[in-house]
Amino acid sequence: MKHLTHTLSTATGLAVLLLLSGCDKELDTPPERTLPTGSVLSIKRLRDLHATTFAYLPHRFTGDSSVYGVVTADETNGNLYKNIYMQDDTAGIVLRLKNSGGLYTGDRIRIYLKGTTLSSYAGLLQLDSVDVDNNVVKQETLVPVAPKVVSVTQITPALQGQLIRLDSVQFIADEANGVTTWSDAVNQSSVNRTLEDCDGNTIIVRTSGYANFAAQVLPQGNGSFTAVVGQFGSDMQLFAHDLSLVQLSGPRCGAFGIQLLLKDFEDGSTTSGGWTQQQVSGTVGWTATAGYGSITNNSGGVYTACETWLISPSVNLSATTAPVLNFETSVAFAGAPLEVLVSTNYSGGAPSTATWTALSPTLATNATWTPSGGQALTPYISGNFRLAFKYTGSSTDGRRWNLDDIVITDN
């Protein structure tokens, strides 16, 4: 009995202890805090205030006022960092965030202006020190904003901060080469590329090295380009905020036409892209160590006889109307000229197995790079067009021929 009493009292004690320990603190939820709206300013009004009342000087808002807008470009793809583009029906503006993150394209937001600063940086008006947690109220999501369709020449400071679309534009031929990327992902530094219309008007496309598409090759075609408008000094700049709205896949236009062949030796190879070398006699070859192609039979005054061909891959010109060849040369020492030949029946192996016709381009006479002048290829339109550069060196003299930027386009 005594044991039973003990056991009972122990059990009661246990129960009490467990009950006591069950009293975990239930946390209170803080009372809801709201941001006052105050007077409402349009973005256009902000821009006007900056130019007039604030006389282009930074202005820190201290009273209750708000601005409404829809986010048109966010940080998601890494091209923008702590920068957000927002616009309303009147104008656009860049928001500079105190901390990265939290605003997304399509958010309709109200910015409580107290604590933010209106200022311009290299000509770009921005609302600085926006604390997303403290200044921003989101009202709606996924609000579509139609880009303003403009031409390259219409992109002026008045369009700052706005979402625009350009039609019939393309990256310039130097960049739309299948090699050049949007930006420098390796060094993570920003890079400017150039977009042009069919009249040759150009605009800068600036992309951060941190963008998740920085290492992607630029699209080579022509089409529409949707972006937000920024500015740096007197340069207007476009920022691609959504690659799905960059649709450059149509046929190219303009002065340089559609590019059919490009050999710029930037990759250090003479044979990349399907080019071949044929050493008909001697062992002298083409090299490409300095970003251009080069051949010489002169080694410190010792001359080696040679006949060496650099032959392009087969180029299909059958769909073209007026194909044109351009390249550049420079030269040193004395010796034989460089011969530029074309064929429509070469299929590999010894050059002698095919019929070759010589062109008469302008060749360099000294170390200055000399454009060849456009060489019309219309007579050679075929499905198997080949281009060859032939150098014949003797054992008594010899030149160094340098060759670069071999391009065939169809105008």
Binding site: H3, H6, T7, S9, T10, A11, G13, L14, L17, L18, L20, S21, G22, C23, D24, K25, L27, D28, T29, P30, P31, E32, R33, E75, T76, N77, G78, K98, N99, S100, G101, G102, Y104, D107, V132, D133, N134, V136, V137, K138, Q139, E140, T141, L142, Y210, N212, F213, Q216, L243
Partner: protein, 807 residues
Amino acid sequence: MQERVPVYTVTSSDLESELGSQDISGILQSSRDVFASTAGLSWGPARFRIRGLDGENTSVLINGILVNDPEAGWATWSQWGGLNDVTRSMEIRTGLSASRLVFAGIGGYSAINARASDQRRGTRISYALSNRAYDHRVMLTHSTGMMKNGWAVSASASWRYANEGYAEGTFFNAAAYFLSVEKKLNDRHRIGFTGFGAPIRQGRQGLAVQEAYDLTGDNYYNPFWGYQNGEKRNARVSYDHKPMAIVTHYFTPDEHTSWTTSLYYTAGRDAQTNINWFDAKDPRPDYYRYLPSYYTETDPAEAARLTEAWQNGNAGQIDWDQLYFANGKNLYTVQNADGIAGLNITGNRSKYIVEGQRNDPRRFGLNSVWSKALDDHTQLTASVGYHDHVTHNYRVVDDLLGGDFWVDVDQFADQVSADPAVAQNDLNRPNAVITVGERFGHDYDMHVRQATGFVQFERRWQQVEAYVSGMLGHQSFFREGFMVNGRFPDNSFGKSEVQGFLHYGLKAGAVYKLSGRQFVTLNGAYLTRPPLARWAYLSPRTRDAVVPGLTTEKVSSADLSYVVRFPRLKGRATVYWANIADQVWARSFFHDEYLTLVNYTMRGVDQRHTGAELGLEANVTSTVSVNAVLGTGRFVYTSRPQASITRDNSEEVFATDRTVYWTNYRVGGMPQTAASLGLRYNSPKFWFISLTANYFADIYLDPNPDRRTAEALEGLVVEDPQWEQLLEQTKLDNAFTLDLFGGKSWMVQRKYRIALNVSVSNLLNNQDFVVGGFEQLRYERMDVDKFPPRLSYLFGRTYFAMLSIGF
């Protein structure tokens, strides 16, 4: 020989007051050996570790069951925290020794005896008042002893509580329960059941950088809490509860033989909360960019503003109201939510949440030990054991902090890859909309299976006693993922390859009796040990890739002791040597630029621990005793490990096989030298008082391995200041503390034993003693001070007073 090699059982009640009063798992609370008791009681708070060894080197047993976590190696003492009355009976041995219970690690073992019939008969009620981790403790225990009807019952419960502990913003709320029943079936067979558990909720204290301590003027500044609606709230709350049940069969076929077999099951919750955030600013108040030093050179005005906010505002604490405010108006539409095309969910997306990081264990196993006295001089012991362990590792949303949901995508992957699948944490449920109680982030089981057996042979001669024991085991482990991670779709889901390791151990030792009162003992051990599953994976949260070249660890150790047992002088002097080779070392740290955990894993980590232990206890008079204790060692790394660096949210591997020049760096995190001098007065009138002075030296922070690589030093020459800064190991200051203990007991009505025990630690209130910390793994090569070490200070003067009644 059992009685020759010191066997420590806890007896003196003044020592028990320390048990569990700090949540830090005491490897050794107390013992009769003056060295071991001083190390546990007076040096424990300074993080002294006997022989500098980690918890995985010490085996912890309850009723003969090994309770070291098979995944992590160590035993979690908080699992039975608050059950001091019934876990007090403990056999502790440090270093190498024979054991009829377990083939222990080189650190020794602690064997708790929670058997009902071994609990002291009677009832004990105690109340304790303290100002350490908790303020109040009540405990109630009743044990029947073995009754005439063949039953023995023991029950205990306790509650420990602090609204706020010693450090600001911490709290403590823990219960504990225990029931043990034993039935004597007949003279040969007994059956016992023991079940216990200790649910605990504890608000933690964080380590901060010195700048934060200086700014707040408080060396116990705690970055983990902040005000929510005027009340203090802690962001790092551990809430654990891992109950265990053991059924034991005690079989004594004859008077020379015992055969004990136990079956057990344990399962529960091991959880710690933390703040998580997405596409928002770091909410941790002591983030390095929120400290004035970040702006000292670039923006002195901002530095001054922050200094002011830290010193006179709440900049040093979490602003919970602000997190609610931000969450409450972050309208967001999740498109194709939960992977369902066209399902759009709109609501306030939480930018900040409190998540629970869970490592929930479940384990069953059995252990059987047979021991027989073959003759008067010979004892043979054999044992087999099997453990099947699973840790369920996952994250769960505990509090959305005013938002409506959390979206389970990885922030950084979102920014580095244009492919939206890459950002998904679970491709089986893309764009998962997570609410309170749902799992997210990572979710996997770690399975560990252990089978071991050992045999021990002991023999006693006239002047010599000796033993030899051998162990053979097999351990296997594998990962089972429940999410298809978008970064690692091919090796995150399902069961991984099984890693299996055969391991063995040998141990031998002898005692030579110089006389009846002087002994020399010599022990040696060599054992191999499987790598711990917890460190064997490069990034277990995201994928099943293991550390390349996984192999067993090789552990060897020897010790030589001289023991005296004179009536007025007892003592022991020991020299020891231990070598642990081929270890895996893994740590993860948050990198704010990569927005992820970076995993730093090394293999081939060797370390050597050598040193000496001295403990002397002299009875100067019948009432006054003096003791002198010294532990001094040299614990160093002895290899050049190979490091791999990976990250959780990308396939990018930062480094493989990077050589770490770690040889002769000190193993950090503990004083390598400690000394004490104690004076005790024992009154014949049942009271005592003792004063102990402690001195600690050779305290280092564990070196950040990456700072000791050729890669870290690239481009620097010896004359550059960075060279020295990168390579030099942080050595902490030596320190002195004073501890006071006292107690009195009364017998009332010849029935009630009343005892009052008081301990005061750090009597001189030394608040400048840095007892630990770590060099941050994140570092800046050219500006080493940008990420200074995080430090932890010894609590100032604390007390623990307990009144108990036994009847």
